[in-house]
Amino acid sequence: MISPLEVLSQMKLQWQWILSQTVAFLILYWLLRKFAFAPVQQVLREREERIRKAIEDANQQRVEMEQLRAEYEQRLAHIEEEARARLQEAMQQAYQARDALLADAREQAERILQRAQEQIALEREKLMVELRDYVVDMAVQIAEKLIERSLERTDHHELINDILEKELRERSAH
C-alpha cells in the first residue's frame, strides 16, 4: 500500500508552492479580518444599536404623544361643553333681560296711557265746568238783555238770535 504522500509525490507536486499559497492565504485572512471584517462588523453592530435605540425612542415618544393627545382631546371636549353651557347661560340671561325690558316697557306704556286718559277726563270735566259757567253766564246776560229791552213778542226770537250772535262774536273776539 502506498501512502498518500507518495501518491502526491508521484504526481510531481511541489510542496513549497502549495504551502506558500496556504501561508499566503493565512496572512491574507489575518489582514482581511483586521481591515475588512472587524471594523465593518463593528460599524454594523453600532448602527444596529443606534437604529434599535432610535426606534425605541420613537415608540416611547409616540406613546407620550398619544397620552398628551388624549389629555388635550379630553380637555378640548370639556372646553366645548363649557362654552356651550356658557352660551346657553348667556342666552338665558338675554332672554330674561328682554322679557324684563318688554314687561317694563309695556307697564310704562300702560301707565302713560292711563295717565293720559286720566288727564283727558280731568280736562273734560274742567271744560264741562267752564262750559257750564259760560252757558250760565251767557244765559244770565241774555236774560239781562231781554229784561233790559222791552220788545214785542214777535220780535222775541229774532232779538235773542241777534243778541246771541253778537255776544258770541264778542266772545270769540276776546
Binding site: S20, Q21, T22, A24, L32, F37, V40
Partner: protein, 286 residues
C-alpha cells in the same frame, strides 16, 4: 492534478513543437511573468499574491474611511458581510457569526482569483492545482484548529472514533474491527481532495473552454477562406462561455466557502447530527 499534467504537457509540447504548438489549456504567461524571470515565482502564485495585495489595499483604505452612514463600496461590502454572517448562522447555528470573517475571506479571495482570469493578460490562479490545494489546506488547517480550540484536544480526538455502544471496551473493539479511525482520517483527507479538485476542475475547465473558443474565433474566417492570412480577425465565440465563467466563479467561491462553514459545523455541532450533516453536505456538494 491530471489537469495540471495536461497543462504542463501542453506547455512542453508547445515549446518542443515550436510553430506547430497545440495548446490544450490557456497559456500561463501573464503580465507578472517578470517575477518568474527575476525571482522564479510562478505566474499563478504571482497573480494570487497580486490579488491578495489588491484586496489588502482596498480594505485597508475602506477601513480608514468607514462611517455610520455608508456609501459606495461600503454599502456593498456591508451587504456582503451580512450575507456571510447569515450563511455562517444557517450552517453552524447560533453564534456562527464569528466565523464570518473566515468564510468571507475565502469567498472574496477565491471569487477574485476566479474572475481575474477574465482580464486579458492575467490568468485564474484557481485554474492551477497548487493554488487550490493550498487553499484547501488552509481551509482544513483553520477548521481543525477551530475544532481543537472549541472542543478541546480530547473531544477533538474522540471525534475520530465511533462510540455506538455504552461500554467503552466494546467501543474500542468495535473501532479496531471496523477501522473507524482510519475511515475518519481518510474522510478528512478526502475533504482536502474534494475542495481542491472541485475548484481547480471547474475553473480550469472554464478557462480551457474559453481559450478553445477564442482560438476557434481566431481561425474561423481564415478557415472559410475569407482572409488570406492565418491571423486574426477574432470572432467572439467565447463570449457566452465568459458569461458562464462569471457565474461559475461565483458558484465555486460560494461552494468552497460554504463547505468550509459546513466542515466547521461538523466539528462544532454535536457528533450524531454531525454525521448526518456530513453526508448531506457531501451529497449537496456533488
Amino acid at each position: 492534478m491530471a489537469g495540471g499534467e495536461i497543462a504542463a504537457a501542453g506547455h512542453s509540447a508547445a515549446h518542443a513543437a515550436g510553430h506547430k504548438a497545440v495548446h490544450v489549456s490557456a497559456p500561463e504567461e501573464t503580465w507578472l511573468h517578470f517575477l518568474y524571470i527575476l525571482f522564479g515565482i510562478p505566474d499563478w502564485l504571482a497573480v494570487s499574491l497580486f490579488v491578495g495585495l489588491i484586496l489588502t489595499i482596498l480594505f485597508w483604505r475602506l477601513s480608514k474611511r468607514l462611517s455610520l452612514y455608508p456609501s459606495g463600496f461600503q454599502t456593498l461590502w456591508e451587504m456582503a458581510v451580512e450575507f456571510f454572517e447569515n450563511l455562517c448562522r444557517s450552517a453552524i447555528g447560533k453564534g456562527g457569526e464569528k466565523y464570518a470573517p473566515l468564510i468571507g475571506s475565502f469567498f472574496t479571495y477565491i471569487l477574485l482569483l476566479n474572475l481575474i482570469g477574465l482580464i486579458p493578460g492575467f490568468m485564474s490562479p484557481t485554474a492551477h492545482p497548487y493554488i487550490t490545494i493550498g487553499l484547501a489546506l488552509a481551509s482544513l488547517a483553520i477548521v481543525h484548529s477551530i475544532a481543537i480550540k472549541e472542543l478541546g484536544l480530547k473531544n477533538y480526538l474522540l471525534h475520530y472514533v465511533d462510540r455506538p455502544f455504552p461500554n467503552p471496551i466494546v467501543n474500542a473493539v468495535f473501532n479496531i474491527v471496523t477501522l473507524a479511525p482510519i475511515v475518519h482520517l481518510v474522510g478528512e483527507f478526502s475533504k482536502l481532495i474534494s475542495l481542491s479538485i472541485r475548484l481547480f476542475g471547474n475553473i480550469f475547465g472554464e478557462d480551457t473552454v474559453i481559450f478553445q473558443f477564442a482560438s476557434l474565433g481566431m481561425i474561423t474566417l481564415q478557415m472559410f477562406g475569407l482572409l488570406p492570412n492565418p491571423v486574426t480577425v477574432p470572432l467572439p465565440f467565447q463570449f457566452p462561455v465568459v458569461l458562464l465563467h462569471v457565474l461559475v466563479a461565483f458558484i465555486q467561491a460560494f461552494v468552497f466557502s460554504s463547505l468550509t462553514a459546513v466542515y466547521i459545523a461538523l466539528f462544532v455541532s454535536g457528533h450524531e447530527e454531525g454525521h448526518e450533516e456530513k453526508h448531506a453536505a457531501h451529497e449537496a456538494a456533488h
